[in-house]
Symmetry: C2
Subunit: 104 residues, 2 copies
């Protein structure tokens, strides 16, 4: 498995629209066979900051995700909402090692 | 649900010991009734940086976790391994909203 933690910084007036677009993206993403988790979070102390916690079976699954219509629609919708560039953090899983323990 | 993303910075010589201590902490933590997830990750571009992704049913569950023997043993074991102070990020869940979709 591979994990991508994406921090996104959203303009105040766009936060509700960003949530709606990201929930729609999640709904499509969790149906992809290579997507194990796709969690959408909002940081308590910094409400304009959101975190996407994405877990893929492998690198190919992460690449396939970027080709989907739901990802591309999300990307286009949220691009003008950004207050500053997103920060992506790629991680390796230490635990749990069983992919079934990651399923949403 | 509440999410705690904890970034920890571990001295190079302590990385394997940190992983072992954190896996042991996870094994105890996921048996707590209020713990929905407890994932241990290592950042690819910065191997001394680890992320604990912790999901609790509520604030009480997060407080209860800190009282457990496995948490206290972990905390004591890893304290001398730190290269710099940890950074905790408290998040609210946007999606999924069903606690059962968070179970490890």
């Amino acid at each position: 498995m591979i994990v991508r933690i994406i921090d996104l910084y959203v303009r105040e007036q766009d936060q509700e629209a960003f949530k709606a677009a990201s929930v729609a993206n999640r709904e499509g993403s969790i149906l992809e066979p290579g997507v194990l988790r796709f969690d959408v979070l909002q940081v308590d102390t910094e409400p304009g900051r959101f975190v996407l916690f994405e877990v893929y079976r492998n690198e190919q699954a992460a690449a396939d995700h970027k080709q989907t219509a739901h990802y591309q629609a999300w990307r286009e919708a949220v691009e003008p909402m950004m207050a500053k560039p997103r920060v992506g953090t790629a991680c390796t899983v230490v635990a749990p090692r069983d992919p079934e323990q990651w399923r949403s």
